[in-house]
């Protein structure tokens, strides 16, 4: 299968593993900030191919994992109303709010439907004119343009029962927050699909300001191994920079059309990241022009703030300060069937991936 088989070629990967072993002359800590990378690294057994001097950390790249519990609580409040349908991405339904989850509300009769895209949610609105349909907009720059296009479509078609509850976020402010927070990193494995939209230059402030290298990579094992080799090279030569490994999908300036739609519909806002707290200008909110699609302002609900489980280490795990094995709840109380924190829910969450694809070493 094109774009898959050639990047999973065992000989190529073994060659890259050999080059990494020969080049790795000190300790390295690299962090990926993309749930897709978290899953791919473990799915292909990448840690088992690397020497012990290389440590791979998983950062706040899973959009489900960084969604605050009060966002879930708002959706739960909405789902209690008979005139509202929640049309959501699948793995949001299992994320625990402060008391329950959308999955449990669905089992109790709430009208919560899983969709594959915002366009599916818009179609749900078209087919259910007597109900309000709310689409929880989660995801980073990869997903937000899809929501933006859907909002424009809803506007053009005069749909008046479709709403977005936006928790869309952008990555660079979180990466900066990580570094300022004290994460000791030698480099970032940068998100491939985010970069396909934004272009790689959005990360250039990281090597310039913080002397930390960045390589944008894809999701196949050869991509990831190649990116690790490129980061090792940057560290060894003392020349941190921003490089693109994923040349077949990513350019310096990105997808201008997608960015235009995104910037037409959304603007930056301060937003809450689970595990980080408030990060300025890191979220996306609908511009006033599209305000009529904003669930939060048009259908206000109040939720009370609750404390996260004190033993749950999702926050430190998302900031790269701890691993799932450090968490007292991991595997015992917290597992994919009974997740305590969001990192265990999503198939791209650190804890879920560690649980499923535990390193054999």
């Amino acid at each position: 299968m094109k774009y898959i088989d050639e990047y999973r070629d065992r000989d190529l990967i073994m060659k890259l593993a050999g080059q990494i072993r020969r080049s790795a002359g000190r300790n390295y800590k690299f962090m990926e900030v993309c749930g897709g990378h978290t899953a791919a690294i473990h799915r292909f057994g990448i840690p088992s191919l690397l020497p012990d001097v290389i440590k791979l950390l998983s950062g706040p790249g899973c959009p489900v994992c960084v969604t605050s519990s009060d966002f879930i609580d708002k959706l739960i409040k909405y789902s209690e109303r008979e005139d509202i349908i929640i049309a959501t991405f699948g793995d949001l339904i299992r994320v625990p709010g402060s008391e329950t989850s959308l999955e449990k509300m669905k089992a109790g009769g709430a009208d919560i439907r899983i969709v594959f895209s915002a366009l599916d949610a818009l179609q749900t609105a078209r087919l259910n004119k007597d109900k309000k349909v709310i689409f929880p907009g989660i995801g980073f720059e990869t997903t937000a343009p899809g929501t933006a296009v859907t909002v424009k479509k809803a506007e053009r078609d005069g749909i008046n029962n479709f709403y977005i509850l936006s928790a869309h976020k952008i990555m660079p402010p979180a990466m900066e927050a990580l570094i300022k927070d004290g994460a000791q990193l030698n480099g970032f494995i940068c998100p491939g699909h985010v970069s396909a939209v934004t272009g790689s230059l959005i990360f250039s402030f990281i090597p310039e300001k913080y002397n930390t290298g960045c390589v944008v990579t894809g999701f196949e094992p050869a991509d990831i191994m190649h990116a690790i080799l490129m980061l090792i090279d940057q560290v060894n030569r003392g020349r941190p920079g921003i490089e693109i490994q994923y040349r077949r999908a990513v350019t310096e300036h990105g997808n201008m059309l997608a960015l235009k739609h995104l910037n037409d519909v959304f603007e930056p806002c301060d937003t809450l990241w689970r595990g980080f707290g408030m990060i300025p200008s890191s979220g996306l909110v609908l511009k006033e022009k599209y305000g009529r699609f904003d669930a939060e302002s048009r259908i206000p609900v109040t939720v009370s703030t609750h404390e996260e489980n004190k033993l749950c280490l999702c926050g430190e795990i998302l900031r790269g300060l701890k691993t799932p094995d450090d968490c007292p709840l991991f595997r015992k109380t917290c597992n994919p069937e009974n997740p305590v924190g969001a990192c265990m829910v999503s198939p791209e969450g650190s804890c879920n991936t560690w649980y499923k694809y535990a390193d054999v070493r």
Binding site: M14, A17, D91, F116, V360
Partner: protein, 320 residues
Amino acid sequence: MHEIISRMFTVRFGMSEPLTDSALLKLGSERLAFTTDSYVVDPLFFPGGNIGKLAVCGTVNDLAVAGATPLYLSASFIIEEGFPLGDLEKIAVSMAEEAMKAGVKIVTGDTKVVEKNKCDCLFITTSGAGILPPEREHISSGTRIQFGDKILINGSMGNHAVAVLGARNNLNFTTTVLSDCAPLNHMIEAVLKECNDIRFMRDLTRGGLAGVLNELAAITGTGIMIDEETVPVDDPVKGVCEMLGFDPLYMANEGKVLLVAGESTALKVLSILKSDPLGKNSAIVGEIIPDKRNHVILNTVSGGKRIIDLPSGIQLPRIC
């Protein structure tokens, strides 16, 4: 879920664990395999099958993988008021056809109609009975498994799951993926007739290959090594999985069996499987190993290693 079943039913009913696909019972001098299953699939009709076909094949296969010859089925229907008779007829015709293919008779049943919204269109429960030759009794429990034994499957993974997923969500895939739903008893009988060294069998339904492998590792206390490159996955299924972030190892099948065969007979078993239309893509995918006990290790396509853990909950599509 397993814990709930154990606490609520198994212990209370005095059943012995581990539960297998079929219960093995003594009836005079004969050994009987007896099984039951309920079918609630949504949607009722999907590419390659329907709930009725599933209900017959699923129960036939539960008996066949125990080493039994399936003979008789019962079929009970819970029907929502207003369910179209035309659809019910299609399902009944399908069930009769599959029963004939499998060489089993549906000999008894029950029908209940419930008010609107009291059930989701149609639920079917089938039970089945078959004769189990004494020399095949060990197959369900895996007591004869040894290090070095080979693990075989009769074809590609995940076709049923993708077929149902596509139908459920109106995903108009360019290539239609058909469910692999089929009765496996004739293919399995051909293997058992020629090879007396089949040490374990299970059908690969919900939870997929990963589910059964973990069950096997837990039953035997051994390690299991699987070679990802040898596990057949059809290209359209691979494409859907790559796009949606699903893992074919965890996806449901309805016409696939896992066999454990002694090392010296594995190639013969493979050849017999491949000579059957339902086994033409059969493969030896792994073996029983003495280390990493109770774990299933995958040699990934890229040369890495990782653990295949127990499936938990349903797979949910990726967001980005």
